[in-house]
Symmetry: D2
Subunit: 155 residues, 4 copies
């Protein structure tokens, strides 16, 4: 398609940071529950789509968050984010959520995520996620076995 925002074109073109995983694509269908009376997807719901895509990306690497919470006592929480909404999505649209991890720190991950419809960029954002203790919600290091999975398909 033609109308990609420059920032995203750059992001899409960029090679992943050395040792990080390649982009992950996940399909999302727009249902009635996602839309509002304006006839378009409600702005908060893109954060649901993005969370689903991050979860499936983790699952594809062998990380189930429910098991991570119970066995390792760690959960991921969102620390900060920014979003840009370029064009509305509507009922029955089939969206592709593209997720690229752009940084893995000791207790934090950064994702660049975007929603496309037939190659046209609708919304994009950068989401900072960090690991916390599942009970206290205090910052906690990313367990080594999770880190290994996130970085294993490098080179």
């Amino acid at each position: 398609m033609t109308l990609l925002a420059p920032a995203i074109e750059a992001a899409s073109a960029a090679a992943p940071e050395r040792g990080l995983t390649p982009a992950f694509e996940f399909a999302v269908r727009v249902y009635y529950e996602d839309t509002d009376t304006g006839g378009v997807v409600f702005y908060a719901n893109y954060l649901k789509f993005f969370e689903r895509a991050r979860t499936e990306w983790l699952r594809s690497l062998g990380v189930a968050q429910s098991e991570m919470a119970v066995r390792l006592g760690r959960i991921f929480v969102v620390h900060s984010l920014d979003m840009q909404y370029l064009r509305p999505a509507r009922l029955d649209d089939l969206l592709t959520i593209r997720s690229q991890i752009t940084r893995i720190g000791r207790a934090a991950l950064t994702f660049q995520q975007s929603a496309y419809r037939a190659g046209e960029l609708l919304a994009q954002g950068s989401i900072q996620v960090c690991t916390v203790d599942a009970t206290s919600f205090k910052p906690a290091q990313l367990p080594q076995e999770i880190r290994s999975k996130l970085t294993s398909n490098q080179e």
Copy 2:
């Protein structure tokens, strides 16, 4: 207003069962998040409105569910329900949720709930709630101190 469904007219007129609490009214505003592309409130969202009303009814009797879960190890879960949707609610509508408890058993409560806009009935339902252990989710008796609060404003 004039068009109340007969079943609800009867319910409204009925005196509460001996020893049960009187009806409780709770106001809900319809926001964008509640509507869908059909221009009306999405059908699942009435169950959110009804849950808020049950929670505020409990709070008005001195029962906070978060405290009940932590201190008494009990949570309420919905066991079954039926709903009738009569007229649509729309953005900016101010709804009144009327909740009447119609039965208190050893481990179960039955609520009759309805949503009105300016006296006009929009939706109604009957919701069966039961008490379970907060960890195992197995049925558990309603704690006596909660039961006392639910039945205290009798006569």
Copy 3:
């Protein structure tokens, strides 16, 4: 596997009414957005899962609701429903939503729907949907071309 509620065992065993479509299965993954602080899927969210499944069932028969609204001026609204919640679903569960249409009237459809996890029944319900004019929300006949699609794979 073994603990299906009697009502559902009967429903599953029942052959579809003459001329009606066979059961349709649709997979739903449970994400964070679907759960609540009790650790389980929030009761209203099963109605989202069921709506997605009805939509995909319609799509599989060649009916897109967005196109039906624009071209034929008709939308489906839920008229009434009942739900039974038997066992909780949790984060990361993969559910199968089984949908069976049990009645097609002049302006109304009845669905029997249920949510399974690895063959275990978690929740079930009966949902009555009717066709209304997309603008006035007044009851309106099911367009003949839609009816044909719903009943075409009979025998």
Copy 4:
């Protein structure tokens, strides 16, 4: 309270830009629907709380969005935003959403919004909203009568 983030302390201390409205406070209760299995409010739901607060701020100035859509053919859509999540909110918490409009352009508004619990900052963000044609979703000027209301309580 003591732990306000520096950025917000500055924002709170800042006098509103000349001609803009003062900060608006709106109370939000946390219900089951808002929480997730982590035991805290799901990150997307703060955007619901913030949207409710913007809507009530507009209503307090005499602007109903449903009427604006029908009579003036304009709706507000979110163009971009950033969010910072500092501490989790939990079931039964009573939050105060503080909204400050920081810019009014020809077709765009910027809000600084934050969620507090008993004076403690939990989350904050900056939301850029713009006016679009209700049908085409193309950018459209803020109607003069709406602009007057937004700027009327100046001095």
